[in-house]
């Protein structure tokens, strides 16, 4: 099964989620959701406002994928990250010496990176790197 070819990065810049990291914050219960929803998934309210996700958080869970999708070199380390103040983001780790450097609870921050090249088009997105200890 082939997926449709990606749109140009030019157009992805216009969508709220992909690079601008716009989620929503419920004005009734305060819950933060990403990607955006028109209805708060926590309480059902439609009283929502756009909310820009922070770029720092901690690793909620992860795996080390040795059989990634075709355009990726193994291993890749997908992570689910709990963002500071609420909200969750699913992404890839980058700049780790070995996958074993990542743990549940590791502090990470988002950086813009090339994700892959799909049929001649570069696909960019946010990845996470470990926050260096101060």
């Amino acid at each position: 099964m082939t997926q449709p070819a990606p749109a140009s990065p030019l157009f992805w810049r216009l969508t709220p989620e992909v690079y601008r990291l716009i989620g929503i914050k419920c004005q009734d219960c305060g819950h933060i959701s990403y990607p955006r929803t028109r209805i708060c998934h926590e309480c059902g309210s439609q009283n929502i406002k756009e909310y820009k996700l922070p770029k720092k958080g901690t690793v909620h869970t992860y795996c080390v994928n040795w059989a990634p999708p075709p355009q990726f070199e193994p291993p890749i380390t997908p992570v689910i990250v709990d963002l500071e103040g609420g909200g969750k983001y699913q992404g890839l780790m980058t700049e780790t010496a070995t996958p074993e450097d990542v743990k549940v609870g590791s502090e990470v921050e988002m950086v813009l990176r090339k994700v892959n090249t799909d049929r001649g088009l570069n696909v960019y997105g946010y990845k996470f790197r470990l926050v260096e200890e101060q």
Binding site: H31, T37, H60, N65, W66, P78
Partner: protein, 389 residues
């Protein structure tokens, strides 16, 4: 909600192909083989079928695929697409049509010729944020294992050993089943030493990739005994749709699947089951990965939260245990030809209830449960079907 499907519809015939890498067969061959098997079992012919529902994700495109394969002449035919629950949802729609009194004899089919799609595994399918593209199915279930181990204080070795026992058990069952794709037995050491697919999951934590087809012929409970002395009655057919809240909101824990739990609760209510661990005799659950089976044991209330390891260690889910799970070998040994899996599961429950499961036969099972989990654990669609005598 006042309606219930319990004891209103009966299965009077079922068929199932051998599952595997069936390069010598085409998609229509699998449909015809499964359905001819079901016709013979029920003692009916093509002309008796009044309507059909067919579940498939990749192989079929519209109900025409099924009617063409079967040379079904001018009857209503519906293609059901509902992720990994497509087969069970086909059966659910077929059963509802009988319960509604519209038709007397209907056919539910599930088929997938997945090897033809050029996949070595199922890809992630949602590209909305550029982040999901990194997911493979082993990857999205592996993150559950990492979190489950962390939450319940299992070292990676303890956690992986717990999961290995699940695969060893399923292969022991599958080795007894001539229709299974993978019929080798395993040892815990071999599972633990297998190549890693998506850590912590290794090769033998993942189900096979197989082609297959299965079919069921349904009629009303009133007419069932005209066809056979031992029809199997549908006790519950539930689908739990997902708001995908696990993916969207902040507070999902990645150690349970809410939709499996709720599909189970709804099915137990419909079937009148109050103590699933005691009352369910056997289960075929969606073991796409070993961790999925572990978590599903808790979601379906067979084991308390965080305690499935105790039951796995005690052998509760083995063929001679108190609650055998995957008596036919499961997705682990049958692979997951998506549309076919749900009906393949019910096929095993059907054989077991009728005492026709040969070397795998359980002692007088009363109620069997089949469960499917579609999509990803944080945004799944789940189905539960309960059948009995």
């Amino acid at each position: 909600m006042s309606g219930s499907i319990k004891d209103r519809v009966a299965i009077i015939g079922m068929g199932c192909t051998r599952f595997g890498e069936l390069w010598d067969k085409g998609p229509t061959d699998l449909v015809v083989d499964a359905v001819e098997d079901a016709y013979a079992d029920a003692g009916v012919e093509a002309k008796d079928i009044e309507a059909l529902w067919g579940g498939s994700i990749f192989t079929a495109h519209g109900g025409r695929f099924f009617t063409e394969a079967l040379r079904m002449q001018y009857i209503p035919a519906t293609h059901v697409v509902n992720a990994c629950a497509s087969g069970q949802d086909a059966m659910r729609n077929a059963a509802y049509s009988v319960a509604a009194g519209i038709y007397d004899i209907v056919l539910a089919i599930g088929v997938e010729k997945i090897k033809d799609e050029g996949m070595s595994g199922l890809p992630g399918m949602d590209n909305r944020t550029h982040t999901h593209a990194v997911a493979t199915m082993p990857g999205v279930f592996a993150i559950m294992a990492t979190k489950y181990f962390h939450r319940y204080g299992l070292t990676p070795e303890e956690g992986k050993t717990m999961l290995a026992k699940i695969s060893v058990k399923s292969h022991a069952n599958g080795s007894l089943n001539p229709k299974a794709h993978l019929r080798n037995t395993l040892t815990i050491e071999r599972v633990l030493n297998a190549p890693i697919i998506a850590w912590p999951l290794g090769l033998f934590d993942c189900c096979g990739v197989s082609d297959g087809g299965a079919a069921a012929i349904l009629t009303s409970a009133e007419r069932a005994k005209e066809f056979r002395k031992d029809p199997v009655y549908i006790k519950a057919l539930q689908i739990c749709g997902t708001p995908s809240s696990g993916r969207i909101t902040t507070d999902y824990d990645y150690t349970h699947v809410e939709e499996s739990y709720r599909a189970g609760v709804a099915a137990y209510r419909e079937a009148g089951v109050t103590d699933p661990r005691k009352e369910i005799s056997m289960a075929e659950v969606h073991d796409c990965f070993s961790i999925t089976e572990a978590v599903t044991m808790e979601d379906l209330q067979f084991s308390p939260r965080g305690k499935v390891k105790d039951d796995i260690d005690a052998g509760v889910f083995e063929l001679n245990g108190a609650l055998p799970v995957q008596p036919d070998g499961g997705l682990k040994c049958f692979g997951h030809p998506i549309g076919a899996s749900g009906i393949r599961m019910v096929y095993e429950l059907y054989l077991q209830l009728q005492g026709r499961a040969d070397k795998r036969q359980l002692k007088e099972p009363k109620l069997g449960l089949a469960h499917n989990l579609g999509h990803e654990p944080y945004a799944p669609l789940c189905s539960v079907c309960i059948v009995g005598l």
